[in-house]
């Protein structure tokens, strides 16, 4: 459905995308890469907002730049949160439906359907200006689904969604993919992508570094220890519990006794088991983060540095 042939894009002196070739078909494909990797550039090219400086892009057989034929069958959920703040979510989605060529009645019906799908029907009369990030993501998804598109592009769609929201959101996207739609999702979080699809395009500094099964990337990542920082008021007790786990390689209590940092070669197993461990031993956890940027490790490995 999407054919990219040796596409490059320059922004003045800066290269946004460097000689990328790939083809994307039905199902979910994840564009994985750090900030500045070129994910949004590819998405903007596919959605016809910008042209490649060299090379070519075709979407459903058409060049996408400013092409209404493409937009009839394309849904796009941009990364930016900008929307008309004074409008209600319902009015915004309805407006988008009318601009897709739907008549008043059809647009109203379709608006209600997509708002139900993204679970915003009961909150859609509030002004967008008062929406949370998660609500904005849902409204953006709703407008992208209006025309039941064959190609759907979602730029960092899970930003700002709570875990429940992510599950619901991914359920909707999965449903589209199962109906044979081509769904492209960009993300810079590998764990997020793994839960969505196995099919990835790995971008780094504008170049396509790897394509294919996410498990290959996972294998590379698991060769590098994964660091996780946990803020807790009982760091030493938690450290004692964690150090007994076979998947934990090291535990360090940070100065001040307010947090610990662990290293694990099986982060998935850690993430699966940690909540029950904390609950069982009544360990209060204030915050939880991964200071280690695993993608950077993989990129270093791939470029042989």
């Amino acid at each position: 459905m999407i054919e990219i042939k040796r596409a490059s894009r320059w922004y003045g002196q800066v290269i946004g995308l460097n000689d990328v070739s790939c083809s994307l078909g039905p199902g979910i494909t994840a564009l994985l890469g750090e900030n500045g990797a070129g994910k949004t550039t590819i998405i903007k090219m596919i959605t016809g907002q910008i042209k490649p400086t060299t090379g070519s892009i075709e979407v459903m057989g058409y060049k996408p730049f400013a092409n209404p034929e493409v937009y009839k069958r394309l849904g796009y959920c941009p990364e930016i949160d900008a929307m008309p703040e004074h409008m209600s979510g319902r009015a915004f989605v309805y407006t988008m439906a009318r601009m897709l060529g739907m008549a008043d009645r059809q647009a109203k019906l379709r608006t209600e359907e997509v708002l139900e799908t993204v679970k915003m029907a009961d909150r859609a009369d509030r002004k967008i200006g008062g929406y949370s990030k998660g609500m904005r993501q849902r409204i953006k998804l709703a407008q992208a689904m209006l025309n039941d598109p064959d190609v759907m592009l979602l730029d960092e769609p899970l930003n700002g969604l709570d875990p429940g929201g992510r599950r619901e959101y991914m359920g909707v996207v999965d449903g589209l993919a199962k109906r044979g739609k081509c769904v492209v999702i960009s993300s810079h979080i590998l764990y997020e992508v793994e839960q969505i699809t196995r099919n990835i395009l790995l971008l780094h500094r504008g170049r396509l570094m790897a394509t294919g099964d996410v498990r290959v990337i996972r294998g590379l990542i698991d060769k590098h220890p994964h660091r996780i920082r946990i803020e807790t008021s009982e760091p030493r007790r938690l450290a004692g519990l964690l150090v007994e786990r076979p998947y934990v390689m090291s535990v360090k209590v940070e100065p001040g006794d307010r947090a610990i940092e662990i290293e694990s070669k099986e982060p998935d197993r850690f993430y699966d088991e940690f909540p029950s461990l904390a609950l069982e031993h009544r360990i209060p956890v204030q915050a939880f983060s991964s200071p280690d940027n695993n993608l950077e490790s993989v990129f270093r490995y791939l470029v042989g540095k």
Binding site: Y11, Q49, K51, A66, I80, P84, G101
Partner: protein, 257 residues
């Protein structure tokens, strides 16, 4: 159908009560000034007052509203980053642009016509409808809304943050050039609008209001030339704007990821 909706939707957006309040206040202010001008200054007749307030203020309201409303056609959407939704709709870009432009020009025109109506009622009362100049003004204001809008549309597509340029043109060039001797008025929109409105040279026209009304110069543009020039400007500017917008790339500065 989508293009008609774009026009209706843009019209609704531009004529939102929150936006209109300021314009209505300006129009009422101009009406009050017009009503009191004859009593404020000696020897100022009703005709003097009408010519000065109409030329010096109503036509400036037209230029100002055109500048501000035209910015909403594309430039404002770019600044607010909502243009992405506009550019990914299955509507040809020129049609999208023209529908939005038409809505902005209609709102600017209606505001200017309202201002003209208020001024004539404030000065002449119901007899204002017998005033031939008033009806010529309406024609000039109507074409002026499209002429100013078309010029400003090109400026907004060519220049980022174009409002200062538009305002400088509307209040600087358009105020000074018609008062200059020679043919400079040919390269103004206001000069051509005055050729259609045919405002007579009035007494007591010295002063800032008279200068704004172009009363310090003599309009030498024939009416038919003015109509032709304005239609030409509108056609050329809109065609150029469509070409520009059809090749327009939306790349927010911080979004070059």
């Amino acid at each position: 159908m989508s293009t008609v909706f774009v026009f209706q939707h843009t019209l609704q957006e531009l004529a939102r009560p929150k936006r209109m309040v300021v314009w209505l206040a300006i129009i009422v202010g101009i009406g009050l000034l017009a009503a009191n001008l004859t009593s404020m200054a000696r020897h100022v007749t009703s005709l003097d007052a009408y010519i000065q307030v109409s030329g010096g203020m109503v036509f400036k309201v037209l230029a100002l509203s055109s500048a501000i409303l035209t910015a909403a056609v594309v430039a404002q959407e770019v600044e607010q980053k909502t243009i992405v939704y506009m550019l990914t709709r299955p509507i040809p870009r020129p049609a999208m642009l023209l529908a939005r432009f038409l809505a902005s020009a209609v709102v600017a025109m209606v505001l200017a016509l309202m201002a003209a109506l208020v001024v004539t009622l404030a000065i002449y009362g119901r007899q204002g409808f017998d005033n031939e100049i008033f009806f010529r003004d309406l024609k000039a204001l109507a074409i002026g809304a499209f002429a100013y809008g078309a010029v400003f549309l090109v400026v907004t597509l060519l220049i980022n943050r174009s409002m200062p340029v538009c305002l400088l043109f509307a209040f600087g060039w358009e105020s000074i050039a018609p008062n200059l001797p020679g043919d400079t008025q040919y390269v103004t929109i206001f000069g051509h609008l005055m050729a259609i409105a045919k405002h007579p040279q009035v007494d007591n026209s010295a002063g800032p209001l008279g200068a704004l009304a172009g009363q310090m110069g003599t309009n030498v543009i024939p009416e038919n030339v003015a109509w032709g020039a304005l239609f030409g400007v509108i056609a050329v500017c809109l065609a150029f704007a469509c070409v520009l917008f059809a090749s327009f790339e939306y790349v927010p500065r911080e979004d070059t990821d």
